[in-house]
Symmetry: C2
Subunit: 175 residues, 2 copies
């Protein structure tokens, strides 16, 4: 049998690379650094749809939005517990800032809006086999695109135990 | 020429109806009651993407999310002012409620989450010709799917004058 030419080999290599890239993207993982448990920042998470919103007082002092993949949105909205493998939930947060025009609009300050990003971005990735030791979820936080320190990463699951009855997820879908 | 049969006429009628329905959906307007200025609840608005979040204290006492169409998201993110015709921005809001598990998670109550829907849903629809008298925007509020009373509808633009420098839009895109 004739050996494949260099050109053919190049085409095959490129095709394989394309498939790998496609599979990587489909798995929702970027090429940035991973958290110790392997979770990476999912590409395009900022364009996911909204599950809910929240405000943290105290030292966090932020306004936050919970976004989710298609699987996450559907499970959240339909109350499916436990969440199915493949669910990814993102927690974005921003500085809790007064709205400059609030006094002019209402006669007094009462409006608070999202300022610059704050407190990193957090993800919960459901894989009941891979993350069995942490309730089936891979928890990870990223600050400025890099995994947060180990102490922060290890703090996620113990805190989320408080929501164990709801598959470790604090948020609820807001219609 | 032979007259069309009843069957043919029925097919034609159905086809026309289908086109009208398609055009109606494409225009972003549902079949529900319209506000006095003609704005209707755009279909599928809950599935639009997130522009920003906010908290209103005072009598409103809610957590809110600003969602937008593709055109709105792009203009918001890129700082395009004035917003282009066709922009639609939605303001959803929910009751500002303490999170039951907050004390267990943090040792004290500090987390506030979205409870039931509250304060209706509001839309801003950009059409600089049609809504020239209100800054180019059609403002409308709907409570439980029905247009809010006239006093409420008329209150939108005067309040939004406080954001005139930003094409009457208070929110900013949150990255």
């Amino acid at each position: 049998m004739k050996k494949p030419s260099v050109a053919t080999s190049a085409v095959v290599t490129a095709a394989v690379a394309g498939v790998v890239a496609c599979m990587t993207a489909a798995s929702g993982q970027t090429d940035g650094a991973a958290a110790p448990n392997g979770v990476k920042i999912p590409p395009g998470y900022r364009d996911w749809r909204l599950i809910s919103v929240a405000h943290e007082e105290g030292s966090l002092n932020d306004l936050r939005a919970i976004l989710g993949t298609e699987v996450a949105i559907n499970a959240s909205r339909e109350g499916q517990r436990p969440y199915p493998d493949g669910t990814i939930i993102a927690r974005l947060a921003w500085s809790y800032d007064p709205l400059a025009e609030s006094e002019k609009a209402f006669g007094h300050l009462q409006s608070y809006v999202a300022g610059p990003p704050k407190n990193g971005v957090q993800f919960m990735v459901k894989d009941s086999q891979k993350y069995a030791s942490t309730g089936g979820w891979g928890f990870a936080q990223f600050d400025d695109g890099k995994p947060a320190d180990e102490a922060m990463q290890n703090a996620c699951f113990p805190c989320h135990q408080a929501a164990k009855a709801r598959d470790f997820v604090f948020n609820r879908y807001s219609p």
